[in-house]
């Protein structure tokens, strides 16, 4: 199946005149000469990272077939890291190469070769790098180490890059499917966990349902505008005023629903909490970054590239979706007690902010959204890295109790986790704050005051559960029921901290009305004692955490990353 896919890919596109085959890494040039009979111009440099990843996946498969079983456990993650590193390098080369001239279409004008797609390629390859680094120790611990996971990850990234660079709805659909199918299998990857299978199946059924809806939208759009290419579509729509734009708007709506599902916007978010909880932790981190980024790339291509002139029609719809996503995401996250599920809802809420950027439909809004996605990748990778470490063998302890008292057992790890939580809450001097600032600024610039305020209030609600986790880390490891606070129940399960306990009798502040906002639903849930023993931090995870933390602070304080995102939207 995969072979078929890559063959069609390579076979169909590769036929470049001699000039096309400039100097590219060894593997490709050979094939290039062989098929120069077909006269379709192909510039490989436009899809270089994509090629690197897909061919890398093939190479990995071949090597695993050749080498004896269990020869060296660390080989595959190492190779994946090298491949994604190469892809990242390629996209940096592309960034310099694309310079600042306008977007050009390549590969039989199915691909947009501009800074927008290059930025996504960089983002996706970095996310893959982190995914590989985190999966290594996880898979060994769970006894699932094999080459399949890494191949799937590379192929999913290929699909994501394709989506980001697609110039037409069909190519977008193709990328969407390549990524989604790989993700379905990754979700169901953990054989021994029943939840993993269930999550995978749910994701599969709903994913295919939404792809069908997306495709139907593409068909209707094709019918209305006569083309599947975005630039031709916008030219057509700018030129003609359709007498009856029912089909066009229907198509647009369906496209929005299809891609809305992918980025888990409310009301299409139902799948994501279950899937995030089901999937193995490193894959969840990877999915949260890559799937969301690719989905938004698609949305931006469709709405800001294709339907730019129809702005008046789709902006109110996105406004409503954004508000729902912001509020429902935060509110539901408060009621959670499972760490991964809470992170799922929190990532839904974060998607709301990118929707704000989309809704303002300005180059500043897009730049804000890109910056948000870029910084979010680092933050979510770090967060899930810590969750992966804390949850222990067989993901036994996903509940909030797992992180309890981490501040005492591993102060460094706790500090890094605190940084990621505060970044997601949008506390200044972290990239999270600048991301929210950029997006809200774009909304305010377009006069969307209500949306801006709702966005910030959602951040306030979200801060509630981020800080609760933060505080849990610094609260006492021992859990004894006796010292349950009598008057005005303190926040669920947060006992006074022995390390920090002031030995005096509590300064009972009276007032009958002081009922604490106890967040747990069914009475004070007894949080289980945290797992004993030290939390070992493998080398690979250590690097990821360090890099993510450094980037989160660097992007939060200085402007280069901001300018990088700004340049990526020159052509809107």
């Amino acid at each position: 199946m995969i072979g078929l896919l890559s063959h069609t890919l390579v076979g169909q596109t590769v036929q470049a005149p001699a000039t096309g085959c400039q100097v590219t890494p060894g593997k490709v040039t050979g094939l290039c000469q062989a098929f120069n009979s077909l006269h379709i111009p192909v510039e490989y440099r436009t899809i270089l990272p994509l090629l690197v990843l897909s061919i890398g996946a093939l190479v990995l498969l071949v090597i695993s077939a050749v080498l004896p079983k269990r020869s060296r456990p660390g080989l595959y993650p190492l190779l994946t890291v090298i491949i994604s590193g190469l892809a990242a390098g390629a996209s940096v080369f592309q960034w310099i190469d694309v310079g600042n001239h306008a977007a050009t279409k390549a590969i039989g004008n199915q691909i947009f070769y501009d800074r927008f797609s290059v930025l996504f390629m960089l983002l996706i390859s970095v996310a893959t790098l982190f995914g590989a680094l985190l999966s290594d120790s996880y898979l060994q611990r769970e006894g699932l180490d094999g080459v399949e996971a890494y191949v799937l990850m590379l192929l999913a990234s290929t699909g994501a890059m394709l989506m980001a660079a697609s110039a037409g709805t069909i190519m977008l659909f193709l990328g969407l499917e390549i990524m989604s199918i790989a993700l379905y299998v990754m979700t169901a990857y953990h054989r021994r966990r029943a939840a993993s299978g269930e999550g995978g199946l749910k994701y599969f059924i709903l994913g295919s349902f939404s792809s069908a809806i997306f495709l139907y939208g593409a068909a209707l759009a094709y019918g209305a505008t006569g083309t599947t290419q975005f630039d031709e579509m916008s030219v057509f729509l700018a030129r003609t005023t359709l007498p009856n734009d029912g089909i066009l708007l229907g198509g647009m709506a369906l496209l929005i629903v299809g891609l809305g599902f992918k980025v888990a916007a409310v009301p299409f978010h139902f799948w994501s909490p279950d899937v995030y909880e089901a999937a193995p932790t490193p894959f969840t981190g990877y999915m949260a970054a890559v799937a969301k980024a690719a989905g938004f790339a698609g949305l931006f291509r469709v709405l800001l590239e294709g339907f730019h002139s129809q702005e008046a029609n789709w902006r109110p719809a996105i406004w409503l979706i954004a508000v729902l996503t912001l509020l429902v995401g935060s509110v539901l996250a408060i009621a959670q007690r499972d760490l991964k599920r809470m992170m799922a809802y929190s990532s839904i809420s974060q998607a709301g902010y990118v929707l704000i950027g989309l809704q303002s439909a300005s180059s500043q809004g897009t730049a804000g959204a890109l910056f948000y996605l870029l910084t979010y990748t680092f933050i979510i990778a770090g967060t899930f890295a810590v969750i992966g470490l804390v949850q222990g063998e067989g993901e036994a302890r996903n509940d909030l109790g797992a992180i309890r008292g981490l501040g005492r057992r591993r102060p460094g790890l706790a500090l890094v986790m605190l940084l990621f939580l505060l970044a997601q809450a949008g506390v200044p001097f972290t990239s999270g704050f600048l991301a929210k600032f950029y997006v809200i600024a774009a909304a305010v610039n377009r006069g969307q005051y209500a949306l801006a305020i709702i966005g910030m209030l959602a951040a306030a609600i979200a801060a509630f559960f981020y800080l609760r986790v933060g505080l849990l880390m610094y609260s006492s490891p021992e859990v004894d029921e006796t010292k349950e606070p009598t008057d005005g129940a303190a926040l669920a399960g947060l006992r006074p901290i022995p390390g920090f306990d002031t030995p005096r009798e509590p300064a009972l502040s009276q007032g009958p009305g002081a009922v604490a906002a106890s967040s747990d639903g069914d009475g004070a849930v007894a949080l289980l004692a945290p797992p004993e023993g030290r939390v070992e931090i493998p080398f690979t995870v250590g690097i990821t955490l360090a890099v993510c933390a450094a980037f989160t602070i660097f992007a939060g304080v200085s402007s280069p990353v901001l300018d990088f995102a700004k340049h990526a939207t020159t052509y809107f």
Binding site: M1, L4, L5, T8, I170, F173, L174, E177, I181, Y184, V185, A188, R191, A194, A195, G197, E198, G199, G200, L201, K202, F204, I205, S208, F209, S211, A212, I213, L215, Y216, A218, A219, L220, Y222, G223, G226, T227, T228, P273, D274, E277, A278, Q336, R341
Partner: protein, 101 residues
């Protein structure tokens, strides 16, 4: 006499509707999966109709992509379904409700 293009579109829309409701109503996972395939075919029909009406080859060509993707989906989907329902053959989609809340 030539049947006007709109009829085909309506037929495709009906097919798509049937597929969607089928997925919502039926409990058996395989039936649900077949409904998705039905929806994809409805879309192919729409594409062909529009291609014919617009007299443009692009629409026809995209049908091939849809078929390819549908095939790929079938392979992977059935793989997962089999993996899960091997132990409990009579299970339906509703038995899978461990993840909730």
């Amino acid at each position: 006499m030539t049947v006007p293009g709109a009829w085909y579109l309506v037929l495709a829309a009906i097919l798509f509707g049937i597929g969607a409701t089928g997925l919502l109503v039926r409990r058996n996972v395989l039936i649900m999966f077949m409904c998705v395939e039905l929806m994809l075919n409805a879309v192919s029909l729409t594409f062909v109709t529009f291609a014919r009406m617009l007299n443009d080859i692009g629409g026809q060509a995209s049908v091939f992509f849809i078929l390819v993707v549908a095939a790929a989906e079938v392979v992977v989907g059935l793989g997962i379904i089999v993996a899960i329902f091997r132990r409990r053959p009579e299970a339906t989609a509703d038995d899978l409700h461990m993840l909730k809340g």
